[in-house]
């Protein structure tokens, strides 16, 4: 901003007449032919006939040319959509000793891609040089003796963090383990819809709300599927086949998720074999417990979805209507005479029908639950088998 500020013009100010018609005669000097300013002066004199407009136009053209030239370079160098993420102070202050707790995608500047990042993208993601010192986090010394001296002795910490992140994410097994317990995912899962929140007050969900709540949840869970493609929740107009296929898939969900990442560190330094075995055993049971919990969580989630799905009601309704239509077609009621006698007989019939529908729904739910229990059993068995296999 401007640093000079003038005072207010006095009220009685009148414009004076000029006392001089022109500036004092210019003197002649000899320029020293040095510096870019001299070249600029030469151009102004020789090429633009002292016209600043022409000079500005030329400078603008040059600038554009340079920009184009630089852009041509930028296009040639494809970053595979990795982009540039800023290195926040928080990131730079990470302690490499706490590497297990880091968010590696954030460290590599890939937090917008996360589990979707391809190995190629990880390969070209954020590079750092060990000599690139992190001075932003260095404590500033107030002593004049130490002015300008970087007091941060741990200034290649961020470099170490990046190296660690690369190491984990480029190894497919380690990446699988890490992705299973990805930071972002764990945060989201805590906010997942659970039956308690819908049981009482918010029993009634509008169609829109239902899809808004559950679509992202299943999109997120889909990553753990061994089978691809994973069916999506779809929309309100989805076909019966789609809806059935969806619930069928999710009740038989085959997940690759595992919890090795959360293992307790085995004390490598200790010679005590018993100690090691004990920790290993503990870790193994812990993994199994977590896996079981995860399967139960998912099943609960699918149950909840099923119970709230507006399409299920619609399908039931349609089925019922179809049945009614069939019935009606079979025993075509004699028209005309029955109309005035409608009252009691009809009421009874309606009641019956309602009961029927309710019964059907109940049995459907029972069936579904049984299927779910079966699926869970199956999954448990599979998990056990897989674990045994991996142990063997």
């Amino acid at each position: 901003m401007a640093s000079i500020q003038t005072s207010i013009l006095p009220k009685g100010y009148t414009r004076p007449d000029p006392s001089k018609a022109s500036i004092a005669g210019p003197s002649t000097r000899r320029l020293l032919p040095v510096g870019p300013a001299f070249i600029s002066h030469l151009r102004l004199t020789l090429k633009h006939q002292h016209s600043f407009e022409a000079h500005d136009a030329h400078a603008e053209k040059q600038r554009q040319k340079l920009e184009e030239f630089q852009n041509s370079f930028a296009n040639g160098d494809d970053d595979l959509g990795v982009g540039e993420e800023p290195e926040t102070e928080e990131l730079l202050a990470l302690d490499p000793k706490e590497w297990k707790k880091h968010d590696y995608y954030a460290v590599l500047g890939l937090s917008h891609l996360r589990y979707k990042a391809t190995p190629d993208q990880i390969k070209i993601a954020r590079k750092h040089h060990p000599d690139k010192k992190v001075t932003t986090t260095a404590p500033q010394s107030t002593s004049s003796l130490l002015a300008g001296v970087n007091l941060n002795t741990n200034d290649d910490a961020f470099f170490k963090c990046i190296a660690k992140a690369h190491e984990v994410l480029t190894n497919s097994e380690k990446r699988r383990q890490y992705d299973s317990v990805d930071h972002e995912l764990m945060e989201f899962q805590e906010e997942d819809p659970n039956p308690n929140s819908f049981s009482k007050s918010k029993k009634e969900l509008s169609d829109h709300e239902f899809f808004e709540t559950f679509t992202p949840v299943f999109e997120r869970e889909a990553r753990f599927s061994k089978k691809t493609p994973v069916p999506t929740l779809g929309d309100i107009h989805a076909s019966k086949e789609h809806v059935e296929g969806f619930y069928d898939f999710w009740y038989n969900f085959d997940s690759w998720r595992s919890f090795e990442w959360l293992d307790k560190e085995i004390n490598e330094g200790s010679d005590n074999r018993d100690d090691k075995r004990y920790t290993e055993k503990k870790n193994k049971s812990e993994r199994a417990r977590r896996k079981k919990e995860d399967i139960a969580r998912l099943r609960l989630l699918v149950d909840l979805t099923l119970s709230l799905d507006p399409r299920i009601k619609r399908i039931k309704q349609q089925e019922k209507e179809a049945r009614e239509a069939k019935k009606a077609a079979k025993s075509a009621p004699p028209s005309g005479a029955a109309t005035p006698l409608k009252s009691k007989a009809q009421e009874e019939e309606e009641k019956k029908k309602q009961e029927e529908v309710e019964n059907a729904a109940k049995s459907d739910a029972k069936k579904a639950k049984a299927a779910a229990a079966n699926a869970a059993k199956k999954a448990r068995r599979a998990a056990r088998a897989a674990e045994e296999g991996s142990v063997a």
Binding site: A2, R15, K20, P26, R29, L31, V34, G35
Partner: protein
């Protein structure tokens, strides 16, 4: 095939390969230096193969060998008659123009035996012996009964012209640069003193061409200095418009230039050169000092720097002259005492003496004084008050002496907070202000500038030819600026907004942005375009009577007045005035200093054409802002 990477490759690093092979060469009378461009686009002084950044301009012949640089200088003691120094200043001169009265301490200058009126050096060398056996056409030596001829080299005399000596020396500099860069030099700029005549420049250019140097330009020393001092890295903290004094102390001469730097464009306001001061004179003072010290310590008479060559101890003097070089550098670099030691100075007696900075400054005070006198004379002749000089730049090894800087600043009448490389702390540690490398770096930057003119700008290179009339420009002789009148009653009658300083090359355009105060009722603003001259107001201040009287001895109370100088502006003439109603006034928000005051931000642009016509426009920043203009016709 032998692997070339086993013991490291002889190829230079990739980075060095990508640098443009452009060099700047500073050829002084006693020392030379070479600079190349770095990848940051800056220039850096490089060392030759002996590790010297200051390469002594000396060539010595000893037997079959030829020495160049500091090894050659060392030969001044025992092989003086075959050692050539100080050849640069003789370039392009006729034999009859060279004064013969000097006492020879190096190879004698003689009249060339064949070329008339041409100075030359005669040195004794050993020629390699001829091939032991006569060549025969058949390839097999003819059988001979004679004994094999002797193979000792034959003593011979070699006559070298000054030009040939320069060529040999420049060739060695070129070799050093090419060894550093790893490729052939594509262009070079060589410095010449401003005192060089066209004939001398011609001779230097020819010698450089003979040495295989592709000369882009011979740059004046003041121009080479300006090439560094106008760069961003030099003047980041300095105003872009400033008056700069260049103090160049060489071995035997002192040259001063006063430059006006206006946004990177520099021109000389005044310059002078004299032989009244120089590094050699300082050497002589030191040698005499140490010789006296030696006599005091050993009771052995030692005559140095004597008028009578027959009584002088030439060898001892030569030894001391080499040794005090080191003493001077130590004095420049550290605040402690510097030593001077010579083995077997005279009669087999060793000498070690020391001198501290205070003693040294006292010793060479007469030389400092002559520098200051020259500075004062120059400023007087240019009619510029020392107070108006913004910056002093030093060039040459002698100016590394902090005592010289102090002396100039204190006794030259300069502003207290004048900028010098010492006050900016850029002298030590290879900073940008290092006086010993400024010239070489400047020439390297100059080489880069000329080499960058390619394609459509190729014709601009003509401006760098010697004596190009494109360098003749018109400049403003008075400063221009705006006055926004108010009732403050100060000498300018309002707020003074400087637009264009004096000595700005035409055509010129400047833009200044500032806030204009408005009254709440009327948004009227008015301004006047004035031509002013900058002056100095001398204020006499009586010093406050010191209460703490030091001692009992009743000194006479000195009622001396202290002169305090202030920069002032003297209005010379009103060129025009304009007024307008502001459209975009804003009220200062609370808490800020300007709370409740109405202001508007304006941008004043001045364009002065080559003819001298002035065009000032004041424009409110923002959409819908007003524009007020003043036009003044050409004189």
């Amino acid at each position: 095939m032998v692997s070339s990477t086993q013991n490291g490759s002889a190829k230079p690093a990739e980075e060095a390969l990508n640098l443009p092979a452009l060099v700047g060469i500073n050829l002084g009378d006693s020392f030379a230096s070479i600079a190349v461009l770095t990848k940051e686009g800056l220039a850096e002084c490089i060392a030759n193969e002996d590790g010297e950044r200051q390469i002594a301009c000396a060539i010595s012949f000893f037997g079959e060998e030829m020495y160049i640089g500091s090894p050659a200088k060392a030969q001044l003691v025992k092989n003086a008659k075959n050692t050539i120094v100080g050849f640069r200043n003789l370039l392009g001169k006729k034999f009859s123009e060279i004064p013969q009265s000097q006492i020879p301490t190096s190879a004698l200058i003689i009249q060339h035996p064949e070329i008339p009126d041409e100075p030359a050096y005669k040195v004794e060398i050993l020629q390699p012996a001829p091939a032991p056996l006569p060549k025969s056409t058949t390839g097999t030596p003819a059988a001979s009964s004679a004994p094999t001829p002797r193979s000792e080299p034959i003593p011979a005399e070699r006559i070298l012209t000054v030009s040939e000596v320069t060529t040999i020396f420049l060739k060695s500099l070129l070799q050093s640069a090419e060894d550093f860069l790893g490729k052939k030099v594509q262009g070079a700029v060589i410095t010449v003193p401003s005192t060089f005549t066209d004939a001398q420049k011609e001779a230097l250019e020819n010698a450089a061409t003979d040495a295989g140097i592709p000369v882009l330009q011979l740059s004046d020393e003041s121009a080479a200095t300006a090439a560094v001092t106008t760069t961003e890295i030099w003047g980041a903290t300095l105003p872009s418009d400033r008056t700069q004094l260049i103090v160049d102390v060489g071995s035997s001469s002192l040259s001063l230039s006063l430059l006006a730097i206006r946004e990177g464009l520099a021109h000389v306001l005044a310059s002078s050169s004299s032989t009244s001061a120089g590094g050699t004179a300082i050497d002589s003072k030191l040698i005499t000092f140490f010789a006296n010290e030696f006599t005091k310590k050993t009771k052995t008479k030692l005559t140095v720097c004597s008028e009578n060559p027959s009584t002088a101890d030439a060898r001892a003097e030569a030894k001391l002259r080499l040794a005090v070089e080191h003493t001077k550098r130590t004095i420049s670099a550290s605040s402690g005492a510097a030593t001077c030691s010579v083995e077997s100075l005279k009669d087999g007696l060793d000498f070690t003496g020391s001198i501290n900075r205070l003693r040294f400054d006292m010793l060479v005070r007469p030389i400092y004084d002559s520098v200051v006198r020259a500075v004062v004379d120059l400023l007087e002749s240019a009619k510029i008050d020392p107070h108006l000089v913004d910056e002093i730049v030093y060039v040459g090894g002698t100016t590394c002496l902090p005592g010289l800087d102090e002396h100039i600043c204190l006794t030259g009448g300069f502003n207290e907070d004048i900028n010098t490389p010492f006050s900016m702390g850029t002298v030590i540690g290879g900073g940008v202000g290092d006086p010993t490398t400024v010239l070489a770096r400047g020439s390297a930057l100059q080489a880069a500038l000329i080499a960058s003119l390619t394609g459509e700008d190729e014709d601009l290179r003509n401006a760098f030819e010697r004596g190009s009339d494109l360098l003749q420009v018109k400049t403003t002789s008075k400063s221009l600026g705006l006055v926004f009148p108010d009732d403050s009653g100060n000498e300018t009658g309002g707020t003074w907004i400087p637009l264009l300083p004096a000595e700005t090359t035409l055509p010129a355009r400047r833009t200044v942005t500032f806030d204009v105060g408005l009254s709440e009722k009327s948004k009227r603003l008015a301004f006047e375009l004035w031509e002013v001259s900058e002056g100095i107001r001398v204020e006499k201040i009586k010093p406050e009577k010191g209460e703490a009287v030091d001692d009992d001895d009743d000194e006479e109370e000195e009622e001396e007045e202290i002169e305090a100088k202030h920069k002032t502006i003297v209005k010379e003439g009103l060129l025009g005035a304009a007024e307008a109603e502001a459209a975009l006034g804003i009220k200062g928000i609370s808490q800020s200093k300007a709370a409740g005051k109405w202001t508007t931000t304006v941008e004043a642009t001045i364009i002065v054409a080559v003819s001298g016509a002035v065009d000032v426009s004041v424009r409110e920043i923002g959409k819908g802002g007003i524009v007020a203009t003043i036009k003044v016709s050409a004189p």
